[in-house]
């Protein structure tokens, strides 16, 4: 098996990974590798057609796609090798990793490893939800990709579980395109997400938010037909008919590679999680700054 040597292996070519590459170069590292599983760098930014990106870092209001493109052009400065379509499938305690992609299956030895693998969305299945398991249930992130990247529609009558930022973005976008967003269901006594998003999406499109409530049951045999919503204060349950359930109930840092490599012990100092796989950031500018911060830490 081929084995390559690098100073820094960066796992993930989203906002955090790209910033980390710049930081590594500024720190003086020469041999830097970014491994990105998708065909191009940018991560989740590439499915964000809405604006609100770059206000902190660029002092401009960009779409996610614009932000990714703009940052990509900075990467030349880093001199990093960029392997797209390439997944890191294992990291090992001897400071090596196994990569798989268009270039084959190969090993990389490194001095430092930056984990920039982002976060995952929690699914409805991790919650106490009874009932059937029909089609028509997905996370807002999946829906965003289907709609913005693939040009497909996901549904007509939509309930959104949770009021996280990505949920608000989707609610606004769907409502703007004429899709009926029936309600967002929030267990707290006020909507989550950032105020800016609440104003731009929830309030601008009059999206109904059902507070202090959770979905307790899914109804529908093949395709979802509705959800049972329980009010946490009264205990009363209401049926909401819908043909699609999207979820925006939170994000979890994706550190599966670390868990597989160090199941019982702590993470050694040569592995540095940055961006959303360290903790989930509110805005991408924060992820970028987190990556750039490595200039002093790496």
């Amino acid at each position: 098996m081929e084995r390559y040597a690098y100073d820094v292996l960066i796992i993930g070519g989203g906002a955090a990974g790209m910033a980390a590459a710049l930081a590594a170069r500024r720190r003086g590292y020469r041999r830097i590798l970014i491994a990105e599983r998708n065909k191009e760098l940018g991560g989740v930014l590439l499915q964000c057609t809405h604006t609100g990106f770059g206000l902190g870092y660029y002092r401009e209001d960009l779409t996610g796609i614009e932000y990714a493109r703009r940052f990509r052009s900075l990467l030349r400065e880093s001199g990093a090798d960029i392997f797209t379509g390439t997944s890191v499938i294992r990291i090992f305690p001897d400071r090596s990793a196994l990569l798989s992609g268009a270039g084959g299956v190969f090993q990389v030895a490194y001095r430092k490893c930056v984990l920039a693998s982002g976060c995952r969305e929690k699914t409805i299945w991790s919650q106490d939800v009874a009932g059937s398991r029909p089609a028509g249930i997905m996370t807002c992130g999946t829906a965003q990709k289907l709609i913005n990247v693939d040009g497909l529609d996901v549904g007509n009558e939509i309930v959104i579980a949770g009021t996280g930022d990505v949920g608000q973005v989707m609610a606004g976008q769907l409502a703007a395109s004429g899709v009926h967003v029936i309600a967002m269901i929030e267990k707290e006594d006020r909507p989550g997400g950032r105020r800016r998003n609440r104003e731009r999406f929830l309030e601008a499109y009059d999206i109904p938010v059902v507070l202090r409530s959770v979905i307790t049951r899914i109804v529908g045999s093949r395709r979802i037909e509705g959800v049972l919503v329980r009010n946490l204060d009264s205990g009363g349950e209401t049926f909401l008919a819908c043909d699609t359930l999207l979820t925006a109930i939170g994000m979890i840092p994706d550190r599966q590679l670390l868990e597989d490599c160090f199941p019982d012990s702590g993470v050694p100092d040569w592995v540095l999680p940055v961006g959303n796989c360290d903790y989930v950031h509110d805005v991408v500018d924060g992820v970028t700054l987190d990556g750039l911060r490595l200039e002093t830490l790496l």
Partner: protein, 488 residues
Amino acid sequence: MEKVDVLIIGAGVLGCFAARNLSRYKLDIAVLEQREDVCTGISKANTGIIYQGYDQHPGSLKASLCVRASAGFQTLCEELDVAYRKCGLLMTSFGPRGDRALAGKKKQGEANRVEGLRILNAGEVYALEPFLRGGISHALYAENTFTVNPWELGIAAFENARANGAAFCFREKAVNIERDRGAFLVRTEARTFRASRVLCCAGMQADRLWETVGRPRIRIRPLAADYLVFDTQAGKWLSHILSVEPEEKGDGITLVPTVDGNILAGPTRRTVRGEPDASTDADGLRELKKKTSELLPGLPMDLIIRSFASARPNPYALEEDGSLSNGSILDFEILEEDGFYALVGIKTPGLTCANELGAYMTDRIIRSFETAPEANRAYDPIRKAIPRVSRLLEEDIGRLEELPPPYREIICRCRNVSRGEVVEAIRRGAVTIDGVKRRTGAGMGRCQGGVCMEKILHILAEEKAMDPRQVTKDGGDSLVLAPSCGSR
């Protein structure tokens, strides 16, 4: 009209294994399946335990098939290239009542000639399972108990039966059966089959289909069961199958370490009113969580990634006066009349015995012909599984390099499933997102398809030359994208 020698109704794990065993002979075999794929009903949702046979009454068909199945299980998995985990089963007790039950099971197992059963004391149990709650009295250790992914076993039998000449007819439901001069005419919506032997493996519908030709003798009362799945991170909490012989009356719980490193908790037992469906029950899920945390107190409940339900057939004898027997039928019950055979209400250990039941039914059917059918000389018991990147990662990293290029593109990142695996699954018969999931494991990880479902949707559309809007999650009307949506 299609003329076949043996017509099997239902392509669940029983129908597939019956077809596999019958294909040892020179027979025209057709398998009718109402759904679009194999193992979409009862077969897809159970604990996946391969029992040794201590739980069956001595002298019963169940006992003899189960013990034989257990002894031959590794060979079967090698022939069919199915992954299994030899994890062993610990049936734990918490006091004198449980201890007596364990001793009884051990004695029964020995009467069934189950080998290697041992009663362990508490110290020995905690040495095997350090995270188990305090207060254990003893455990019955059935070391040669295995787990499998149940659908993997059924799919392997299907592929092997098909390679040996059995014809599988999907989306063809038997809607009417009638006798025709020593044979049976089985009509589907599209066509009519004529067969001198019919083997009904139709799960929940087996009693109704039997009654189209035979006197009503058994009725199925569905039971529903709930299950919880914990993430692979929970895997370290458990290395053996654990079941509980409760001190008080009531159902225990079974915790299963799966082939893929998850923990499966379940089943609950609920009676179902009306048509059975696969809906989980809120109380059932609560009960499972409670019992799981009682048994493994350290296990974080936020590692739950999925819950699901299944309906299981529970057979009752129909008495002369039209009433049902008090208790359900304990043994495997096989109905037979003039060449029509029905497996009605096959439940635990049905998965364990699937291949043995197939062999047993084949034997009965073959003996019923006046001139015995010739052996199928081309019969090959070997089937090769789809190469799995995730499994090579555990077993032999070097071999990853030997796989063709599509196996290098990772589609499901929780489970490291590649494009090559997904494409091969489709070429072997997957037509839905869930069909791909059952064949590859894609979407079974902690993100539950959040990343890979969209990619699999496109691969399915591409391979099947269809619009992505026509792709279904699980057949029928289960469109992934709601109908009447257009492209923007």
